[in-house]
């Protein structure tokens, strides 16, 4: 197959009710031939039953029974399609119920975010929320899709006004790469094929943009961080003394001979080999899963991190983070939570809520410190032992964590270290 060298691109779609998000995804899947005939038949039958004209593309993204009955999306769903250039994973996130929780989840692994704007309404509160979350989660690329241009006579003026509205408020945000596209998902204008209705738009259609986004530098290739997941001790012939540290490189590159430090113990050694079942490697880079052996027999276990001697993360017991609260139970002041950070697990508490953010106005609320579902706040976290952390903007893996309620085992919050 020709796609051997193809990369994987993960993107998230954010939109509010009726702005055409499901139609856009349906259009991408349909025009990229990811829809099978039996799926098409089923959707055509449902469209007819509901009295819709033609095939309602939005029905391709229907999921659970309740969602079909209520015509809404409850939870993040994942969709897939492949073109001759790339494989795509879409995290399709609902725009209303538990919007922050779902959008944050979808955004956490995304290379790109599509933000949909209904051309009839322009920038609305939801648009600001979506842009804020894309910036908070440091999604490397944002594509603003001005949809339903067919209902605004494909007007260049309408489009330009929306672009400047967006640029005006997003100046306060930290988004590196923003692109704009006028489209009609319903008719397929500028989705897969270039629109003939908008000759004034000189850019490429959405799919071409997604196929050519430069994602090679989305991952941190500078700071080598190898969190140890488990220790491999085969104890069988040929491998009696083998002691391999299994993990996935969070960032950076490792090579045999590199001088390394095992954190938090501080023991130093050199990398002896990097192994896979297909043989030893001359180098390993993120996000490869490998097994590493060291030249010295030192104590290493799950939760430890192997890093280069000349480039170490900071071991810290107290740090600030932007926290998204994801659970119906509100945060209990000074309560103990379990913190999951890479392969490390410790007890932690929220020592202080520095300020909360109103994600519609981006205002800081310094008097309100209740963390409820969908709250976003800057907090100070204190842990029982040091964690080997980096700032989230430098490293999405070693800069992120989740909090677990020790009493219920539920995941209650997601944090980004600042």
């Amino acid at each position: 197959m020709a796609i051997d060298n193809n990369q994987l691109l993960r993107f998230t779609t954010a939109g509010s009710v009726d702005d055409g998000k499901s139609t856009l995804i349906g259009r991408l899947l349909y025009d990229s031939k990811a829809i099978f005939e039996d799926q098409l038949d089923a959707v055509a039958a449902t469209s007819k039953r509901k009295g819709h004209e033609g095939v309602d593309l939005a029905l391709f993204t229907d999921g659970l029974r309740d969602e079909r009955e209520q015509g809404i999306t409850i939870d993040v769903a994942y969709r897939y399609f492949t073109t001759p250039k790339r494989k795509f994973i879409i995290a399709d996130t609902p725009g209303h119920i538990q919007y922050t929780r779902n959008m944050v989840t979808g955004a956490s692994t995304a290379n790109a975010a599509l933000i949909l704007i209904d051309a009839r309404h322009g920038v609305i509160e939801q648009t600001k929320r979506h842009a804020f979350i894309a910036s908070l989660l440091q999604i490397p690329h944002v594509i603003v899709c001005v949809n339903k241009m067919d209902l605004m006579d494909y007007s260049e003026k309408v489009y330009n006004e929306i672009v400047s509205q967006f640029e005006e408020f997003s100046a306060k945000l930290n988004v590196k790469d923003v692109r704009f596209l006028p489209m009609s998902a319903l008719d397929g204008d500028n989705v897969v094929n270039k629109s003939t209705n908008m000759p004034w738009f000189k850019g490429a259609p959405l799919l071409h943009t997604l196929e050519t986004l430069h994602i090679g530098s989305d991952l941190n290739k500078i700071d080598a961080r190898f969190p140890v997941q488990t220790v491999l001790r085969p104890q069988r012939e040929g491998f009696i003394d083998y002691r391999g540290y299994a993990g996935r490189l969070a960032s950076g590159i490792l090579r045999p001979g590199d001088e390394v430090v095992v954190m938090p113990s501080g023991f130093t050694s050199k990398i002896k080999s990097i192994d896979t079942d297909k043989g030893a490697l001359e180098e390993a880079y993120a996000p490869m899963s490998v097994s590493v052996t060291l030249q010295d027999d030192i104590d290493v276990s799950r939760g430890d991190m192997i890093v280069k001697k000349n480039n170490q993360p900071e071991p810290k017991q107290e740090f600030d983070a932007m926290l998204c609260w994801l659970h119906n139970d509100t945060a209990k002041p000074r309560a103990k939570y379990t913190i999951l950070h890479t392969s490390n697990e410790q007890k932690a508490m929220i020592k202080d809520v520095v300020y909360k953010i109103d994600i519609n106005s981006y205002a800081r609320l310094e008097d309100d410190n209740e963390l409820a579902m969908n709250s976003i706040a800057r907090v100070t976290i204190k842990t029982t032992r040091p964690l080997m952390i980096d700032e989230y903007r430098d490293n999405r893996v070693t800069g992120s964590f989740t909090l677990i309620d020790s009493a219920t085992h539920e995941t209650v919050a997601a944090g980004m270290i600042v």
Binding site: K221, R302, F401
Partner: protein, 301 residues
């Protein structure tokens, strides 16, 4: 630095290995649910890589409906021996004999739904706290909502509206006694990815996936294999066709398609031009629009 990126199959492989290692690190007594189908064979292959040079540290668990293709059972036994792993078999026939479940009646009776009881019994009696499956999100609309680590309550039930959020690659496998998890390391693979990878890695699969001559009858728009469990209905006649199976389930409900694809290369070519979904030949999914969701809620794979 541009050379430092993985192609999509390597990235999917690395993600699956990461998940399998997390299962091993976070659970006391995990098993791999092994059906003999290509997806569970893929999971076994990835587990071999994840723990190399150690052996796969998980036993295989097979829910045996008694309505298997003989080739599947042979393949299972050979693979278990080759890998040196333990095999746990949960028998639907035994559950029927013990009166735990009753055979379905009627024309379209199958043992598909009966597997749920046997699976949950086997999980409970073996004190399994994580069952690793080959479920993929592209297979079916209910599966599109699955987490990598999917929580089941102490009745083995899935609550799709109340799932734990899963962010970045941080997996939360914390649970109380009696509850268990299902883990899905190949969630992000599509059918095409699976075949491309099987071809690339030259993974051996049951001969049923390759085109072969077989006695079959035409029923529900596919070729159902003749077996001791098949009762011919009026107007049906046995024909000998060159067919292959795109998925493998019970011999009673798995339909084949006419094909000349007798090598992995030809299968990849054929699958890439398929016009029907993979599970379109499975009568178990055709019962209603939410057949999969309903079974999953009760504890199905």
């Amino acid at each position: 630095m541009s050379k430092y990126y993985l192609n999509y199959l390597d990235e999917l492989e690395s993600e699956a290995i990461y998940i399998l290692r997390e299962v091993w690190a976070q659970f006391e007594n995990p098993v791999i649910l092994f059906s003999g189908g290509k997806d569970s064979i893929l999971v076994a292959h990835l587990a071999k890589k994840a723990f190399y040079p150690s052996k796969i540290p998980f036993p295989f668990m097979h829910v045996d409906t008694g309505h298997n293709f003989p080739e599947t059972i042979q393949f299972r036994d050979d693979l278990v021996k080759e890998l040196g792993v333990e095999l746990i078999v949960g028998s639907v026939q035994e559950a029927i004999d013990d009166g735990r479940v009753a055979e379905e009646k009627g024309k379209s009776a199958t043992r598909n739904v009966l597997q749920i009881t046997t699976l949950l019994d086997a999980i409970e009696s073996n004190k399994v706290d994580c069952a690793i499956g080959g479920g993929r999100r592209d297979e079916e609309k209910a599966r599109a909502k699955e987490r990598f680590f999917s929580h089941r309550d102490d009745f083995g039930q899935w609550d799709p509206k109340n799932q734990r959020p899963e962010l970045w690659n941080i997996l939360n496998g914390k649970h109380f006694e009696g509850e268990h998890f299902r883990a899905f390391p190949i969630s992000n693979w599509t059918e095409m990815d699976v075949w491309n990878y099987i071809l690339r890695e030259n993974i051996s699969i049951p001969s049923l996936y390759l085109a072969h001559q077989r006695d079959v009858v035409w029923r529900s728009n596919s070729w159902i294999p003749v077996s001791e469990y098949l009762t011919l209905e009026e107007g049906e006649k046995v024909e000998n066709k060159k067919i292959r199976f795109r998925t493998l389930g019970d011999i009673t409900i798995t339909g084949g398609l006419e094909s000349d694809a007798d090598t992995l290369e030809k299968i990849v070519d054929e699958v890439s031009s398929m016009k029907q979904t993979e599970r379109g030949n499975r009568t178990d999914d055709k019962r209603s629009e939410s057949a999969m969701e309903d079974r999953k809620r009760q504890g199905y794979f």
